[in-house]
């Protein structure tokens, strides 16, 4: 995670801006899903730019910018640089903004072919060959994970930056949340493939609570042991292709996951 210094303490009534790049809108919707906190938050900050929710726009600079989405067009490359210049603190939210998102699957394919599969006249479509995270273009101050982000974590991050402290969020694995919740391990007890051991915490072990294996929507944890998990996934009966597919979803180009999908999973088994 590329986290720089938190910057100076923010003044009262700081200006909050929300920006969208290539995405599904779900992470900025998470802010509107904070039904109990939304009006209180609106009393503490000036919402200066939030097109999904308001026609009212204040000019920059902004104290805190929340950025959703990945960079997939030349216009977006230019716009994120401008937003960085205008923002004292830049927080990126969600898998698209932190790792390129599901649309980064194009990075493994020929975009010209993708374009022609969806559009009859592909020459009208403006897009880059890759979908990349915000941190590939500008320095970011904090990355909040998830596809989508968790609303309690969003509130914690906003509160932290608004009072000038560091967010108190775990960077361990989903496994630690699962154990703390007292859930029976789906992989050990039922042989269900689960990415929990290598996936960043934050969801509260949601999938295991529903007797489903984690599918990695929060992306890789810090320093995951992926080869060990791959052995375990094989023991659960997953084929090599199925293992590769499991890592190729919403965070496919996150550095730890791209090793599995791009270099090939067999690299982990190669003799020294």
């Amino acid at each position: 995670m590329s986290t720089s210094s938190l910057g100076p303490t923010l003044s009262p009534g700081p200006k909050l801006a929300i920006w969208k790049f290539t995405s599904c809108d779900g992470c900025q919707l998470t802010l509107l899903d904070c039904e109990d906190e939304l009006l209180a938050l609106a009393g503490q900050v000036r919402i200066a730019h939030f097109r999904e929710a308001s026609s009212h726009v204040l000019p920059g600079p902004y104290d805190v910018s929340l950025v959703e989405g990945s960079i997939t067009t030349a216009e977006e490359e230019r716009r994120i640089r401008w937003i960085r210049e205008q923002s004292r603190v830049l927080i990126v939210i969600g898998a698209c903004a932190t790792s390129g998102g599901i649309q980064a699957l194009r990075n493994f394919a020929d975009v010209a072919e993708f374009r022609s599969l969806v559009y009859a006249s592909p020459e009208h479509i403006d897009t880059l060959a890759t979908s990349t995270p915000i941190s590939a273009h500008v320095p970011v101050d904090y990355e909040l994970r998830g596809c989508p982000i968790d609303r309690h974590q969003l509130v914690e991050v906003l509160c932290a930056f608004l009072v000038g402290r560091k967010p108190d969020l775990p960077d361990t694995s989903v496994c630690t949340e699962c154990k703390r919740r007292g859930l029976t391990c789906v992989m050990v007890a039922e042989g269900t493939p689960c990415l929990g051991p290598v996936t960043h915490a934050g969801c509260g072990a949601l999938c295991p609570a529903y007797r489903r294996g984690c599918f990695g929507c929060f992306g890789p944890m810090t320093a995951p042991n992926i080869p060990a998990l791959i052995d375990q996934l094989r023991a659960c009966g997953l084929s090599e292709v199925a293992i590769e597919r499991a890592f190729r979803t919403f965070n496919a180009t996150a550095p730890a996951f791209i090793d599995v999908t791009e270099v090939g999973i067999r690299v982990h088994d190669a003799p020294c």
Partner: protein, 430 residues
């Protein structure tokens, strides 16, 4: 107004999901062009679904839209189950409908209170509205939260639920788990009835649309989660024939494809559902609709906010009925063994019908995927409305005409992210 040549621009349209641009050209008092330009960067879902396992689209296609992920999950599952020759009935189908009701309540409450009502009341957003009428906005947020509560219990979370799988669910709730939810929904029902009365007190500009209306129709129930296609023109067809009737065309000014029904413009969404299926609403929903002066059909798009409010009442009634009648299934899902074939699925997303088609190989790998979201179906109708609205209101100054156009676009709750992004309004008067 005597301007022969003028240009008017709004840098981006607010309170829609996604971004786009609008160009209206007026020449000597005649509307020359009304194009809804959509620049949402393409995300290529239909391309990268190829080669994925048939169990994956429920999670993958949810990511097309953060506002209506359940719609994508439901249409995808239905289409793939159809390809595999499996039909989900009984409590599993009821739970799906319950989950979908949650999305209707949440999405409609979001649109009514946070996105659209500020237009009618002259506020830039719901936050400013709350400064004068905090109780009203709190009621909207509570209603939205009630819808999210259904999705959180049944789906695990409100945005991109994790508990939906091909064949059913990973885990199904007990009756005891649903009981407190019902208590909460009963309280929300009062708020929903009040909402209908509140939005019906707004002033509605005159506009009567003449588009053909297309909606799913379900036997015995107001269509949400399955059914056949019916149009006000009398046309009716099975979902398997969708491709024979609805054709998507690419237009140069948009990354969203435009759909046509047998070659003509049509509209999907709340007005179409209400006009085709209002007789199937619950008694309470029918009563509040009648009280609001809605007849058996509604063709004024500005009144779609009233229809949405009636649909929230219905979705709450329906959720309460489903919870009351719920008996847990023996297993949380049916097995859906793959087979080679083609399957179709159609459901009613909050903003209009959503069609999915998948072709699978014998191992269940996806050979092709086609997804037709509601907003690309409605783009032609939106443009037509704008053309007629501008023609009828040329006397308004630019600022008021622009506001009216933006409001008209929001009548359709366009979900540009489903297909696209960046709505700029440009009116050129020459």
């Amino acid at each position: 107004m005597t301007h022969r040549a003028r240009q008017l621009t709004v840098s981006s349209l607010a309170r829609v999901e996604g971004e786009g641009a609008l160009l209206i050209t007026v020449h000597d008092g005649q509307v020359q062009r009304a194009a809804l330009q959509i620049y949402e960067p393409p995300r290529f879902f239909e391309a990268f679904l190829r080669g994925r396992q048939h169990t994956e689209p429920a999670d993958i296609t949810a990511r097309i839209c953060g506002i209506c992920p359940v719609a994508y999950q439901m249409s995808a599952c239905q289409a793939i189950e159809d390809a595999c020759g499996v039909r989900i009935d009984g409590p599993l189908a009821d739970l799906r409908r319950l989950l979908y009701s949650g999305e209707w309540i949440s999405s409609h409450a979001l649109h009514i209170y946070l996105l659209h009502a500020p237009d009618f009341l002259g506020y830039p957003d719901a936050i400013s509205l709350a400064q004068d009428h905090r109780d009203i906005v709190e009621r909207g947020l509570a209603l939205k939260k009630a819808g999210n509560a259904i999705m959180e219990l049944l789906g695990g979370r409100a945005i991109h639920p994790i508990n939906v799988r091909l064949g059913g669910f990973y885990r199904t709730p007990s009756r005891a788990e649903l009981a407190p939810l019902a208590e909460r929904l009963r309280r929300a029902l009062d708020a929903a009835v009040t909402t209908v009365r509140w939005v019906n007190s707004f002033e509605f500009p005159d506009l009567e649309l003449d588009h053909d209306l297309l909606a799913v129709r379900q036997e015995h129930r107001y269509a949400i989660d399955r059914g056949n296609l019916h149009a006000t023109s009398g046309l009716a067809f099975d979902v398997a024939d969708f491709g024979a009737h609805v054709v998507e065309e690419q237009v140069p000014h948009s990354t969203a494809l435009h759909a046509r029904l047998d070659g003509h413009r049509y509209l999907a969404g709340p007005l179409a559902r209400y006009t085709l299926n209002s007789g199937q609403l619950s008694a309470t929903a029918r009563q509040v609709a009648a009280e609001a002066g809605l007849g058996s059909e509604c063709r004024n798009p500005f009144r779609s906010i009233v229809v949405r409010a009636v649909e929230v009442v219905y979705a709450l009634d329906e959720a309460l009925r489903l919870i009351a009648e719920y008996e847990p299934p023996e297993r949380p899902f049916l097995d859906v063994p793959p087979r080679a074939g083609i399957g179709h699925g159609v459901t009613e997303a909050p903003r209009g019908l959503l069609y999915h088609r998948y072709e699978l190989d014998a191992d269940g790998l996806i050979r092709s995927a086609i997804i037709i979201p509601p907003t690309s179906q409605n783009q032609g109708a939106i443009e037509d409305d704008l053309r007629r609205l501008v023609a009828a209101n040329l006397d308004l100054d630019d600022q008021r005409l622009t506001a009216l156009c933006e409001q008209a676009i929001r009548n359709y709750d366009p979900c540009i992210s489903c297909s696209t992004h960046f709505l700029q309004l440009t009116v050129q008067r020459r």
